[in-house]
């Protein structure tokens, strides 16, 4: 019975997130017009944030299980640097497949180490992933100090590949119809969203994540292997960070130690806006997706409104987080009373 209520809480917060996002976007279309009336603007929210969507999904899984992982931004930077060095090596024999294996390898290795430390040695996930973050950033600089671009032809072709969306588009300045498109990374991100949604909603493992995050003691009494569940949540998160690193790399086409700085915080913010609670046990992947979209949309609204300085973006995100948290806690309190 308890589990059922938890799932309902998740759904309620999801609905709130989607409604707010929809209102925000419609508001932008009505009041700001311009770019927001074009479908490509909507798809750009995906194009620019494919990597963030993937990391935020992993973050949600860890947060639902009651943990946190702040190493994801570092992993993204490390993956993009390693892949860049591999693909750009002077022998010219770097292949796309090899670089994807590197990305997955780094992600999985990170997941195993961090997951083991958190689940089996009972170290605070914050501390473990803090160390992980420093390690990843440091390693990125050791692999290569200077930022550089990849000149591998096959990679460049893959980077430029766009998936056009039929029948949706807009007329550009020259009067030609330009169809809307998404990058390959977006397809990957959406597949991951769907996959995780299914896992969390309809599999035993998914229910275990919620149970462990909701109440570790009762999960233990229900016979759930708490350690294994925690381990798997970190494994999923770091593997996704590896994939996100590749998607990010595909988006910018370069390796740099300053890539994805602060991405972990954006991922946490997106998860919270999407209705995932830091206390664990509550959350939804679709909500996280909308959390990312809300974050990037509000940034666009802010800069198009002429609030051009960088700190305005930060302040708006802070305000938005505050509003979402208040709405969430008010709604949850109301429900408990009812």
């Amino acid at each position: 019975m308890k589990k059922k209520i938890k799932l309902n809480d998740s759904n309620l917060l999801l609905v709130i997130t989607i409604v707010i996002f929809t209102l925000m976007y419609l508001g932008a279309i009505i009041f700001q017009g311009g770019g927001f009336t074009k479908p490509q603007m909507f798809f750009n929210q995906f194009n620019n944030n494919a990597a963030l969507i993937i990391t935020a999904c992993g973050m949600s899984v860890v947060m639902i299980t009651g943990g946190i992982d702040i190493s994801v931004g570092g992993v993204v930077a490390l993956v993009s640097m390693c892949c860049a060095v591999y693909l750009d090596n002077p022998n010219g024999n770097g292949t796309i497949g090899g670089s994807i294996l590197i990305a997955l390898g780094i992600g999985i290795a990170y997941g195993i180490v961090q997951g083991f430390l958190v689940a089996y040695l009972d170290i605070q996930p914050f501390i473990v992933s803090l160390a992980g973050m420093f390690f990843a950033r440091g390693m990125t600089t050791i692999v290569n100090t200077a930022p550089f671009n990849v000149e591998n032809e096959k990679f460049k072709a893959l980077k430029l590949t766009k998936v056009t969306i039929p029948f949706i588009g807009s007329i550009n300045k020259k009067g030609e119809f330009s169809p809307a498109y998404v990058e390959i990374g977006v397809i990957v991100a959406l597949l991951i969203v769907i996959l995780l949604f299914v896992v969390l909603r309809w599999t035993k493992l998914g229910r275990c994540f919620y149970a462990v995050g909701g109440n570790k003691q009762s999960a233990l009494m229900l016979g759930i292997n708490v350690r294994r569940t925690k381990f798997l949540s970190h494994l999923i998160c770091s593997t996704l960070a590896g994939i996100a690193g590749y998607v990010y790399f595909l988006h910018v086409g370069s390796g740099s130690a300053s890539h994805a700085t602060g991405m972990e915080m954006q991922a946490i913010a997106s998860s919270i806006i999407g209705g995932t609670m830091l206390t664990g046990g509550v959350g939804n992947i679709i909500g996280t997706l909308f959390g990312v979209l809300s974050l990037s949309t509000i940034q666009n609204i802010v800069s198009l409104a002429g609030l051009d300085q960088a700190w305005w973006t930060g302040i708006t995100i802070a305000a938005m987080l505050g509003i979402f948290l208040i709405i969430q806690s008010v709604v949850m309190a109301q429900r408990k009373k009812a």
């Binding site: 929809t22 311009g34 770019g35 479908p39 603007m41 750009n44 620019n48 370069s254 800069s303």
Partner: protein
Amino acid sequence: MKKINEVVTLLLLLSVLVTGCGSSVVNGKKDNAGEGNDAGKTITVGFSQLGAESDWRNTNTQSMLDAFDGDGYTLIYKNGQQKQSNQITAIRMFIQQEVDYIVLAPATETGWDSVLSEAKEAGIPVIIVDRRVDVADKNLYSCWVGSDFELEGRKVAAWIKAYTEGQGIDPSDLHIVNIQGSLGSTAQLGRTRGLANAARENGWEILAEESGDFTETKGREVMTSLLKRYDNINIVYCENDNEAIGAIDAIESAGKKVGSDIKHGEIMVVSFDAVNEQAIQYAREGKISCIAECNPLHGPRVKALIETIEAGGTPEKFNYVDERIFSSVPDVNVIIVDGITYTVDAPPETQSAADASSSG
């Protein structure tokens, strides 16, 4: 039953979202038609600045904001916070916003092919400022505005040459150290090349070249260690003002005197940028003997280029901003580089005075 209800609500909400997007297509078309009619009324410029890391950069941003303030122009400014991915996002937003021009001060030289070709497909001309972009197809941008860093270096070298010849100092008695900028940056490469070529031609001795990363702290650190290593340094070539301030501090702490009288044991400091207030003050006092200006005021120049394009003209591909050279040492009045004569100006009184004189 309850679950089905939830699913239905969810679907309804999603459909609201989808119809929201659907109607936006229609709106988009209407809007375009409307914009077509009143084209030429106000010109919208999207400006993607790479960040706000230095005094020079902030002055550069302010110049753009001032140039496009009112007067039939709207400027959308976006700070990239030193990240190329932010700049890509900004340019894509400008494209969707259908700005008339995009001005880009790129964080890196490479990796712009795809987003610039999107701008080209959308029919939006792109003007690059400051650093250059390295793209396979040079037609992806209309033109570039910025500084000729090597010329700056050569100007300072020409000043040193004119001054020392005037003083009757033998070229082989010049012992120069070069405190370089961040290695690999366009400014560092150009300024180092300018000095190195002049040293080779004139037979000057370059004792050391070491990077001070364009910062005061690093400049002080490098100068301190250089003074310990060499006791015959008489010219310090700093590749920006901040390094010069640090270097002067180091020289004075070591008990030596800074100035242009190198015959009598003073150490001469020359520098670049002339944006930092303190460095200009030092130049007035003669602590910095000579500063080659690196003009951050790109705004008026970019505006002029946009006016050229608006009038149907094709601007020059590479546009160098006018840059002066300052010195409070009275002996040298003009220098000649490549047959062009440059007057050596007195250091400006205040920064705002410098702004007024160069924008006029």
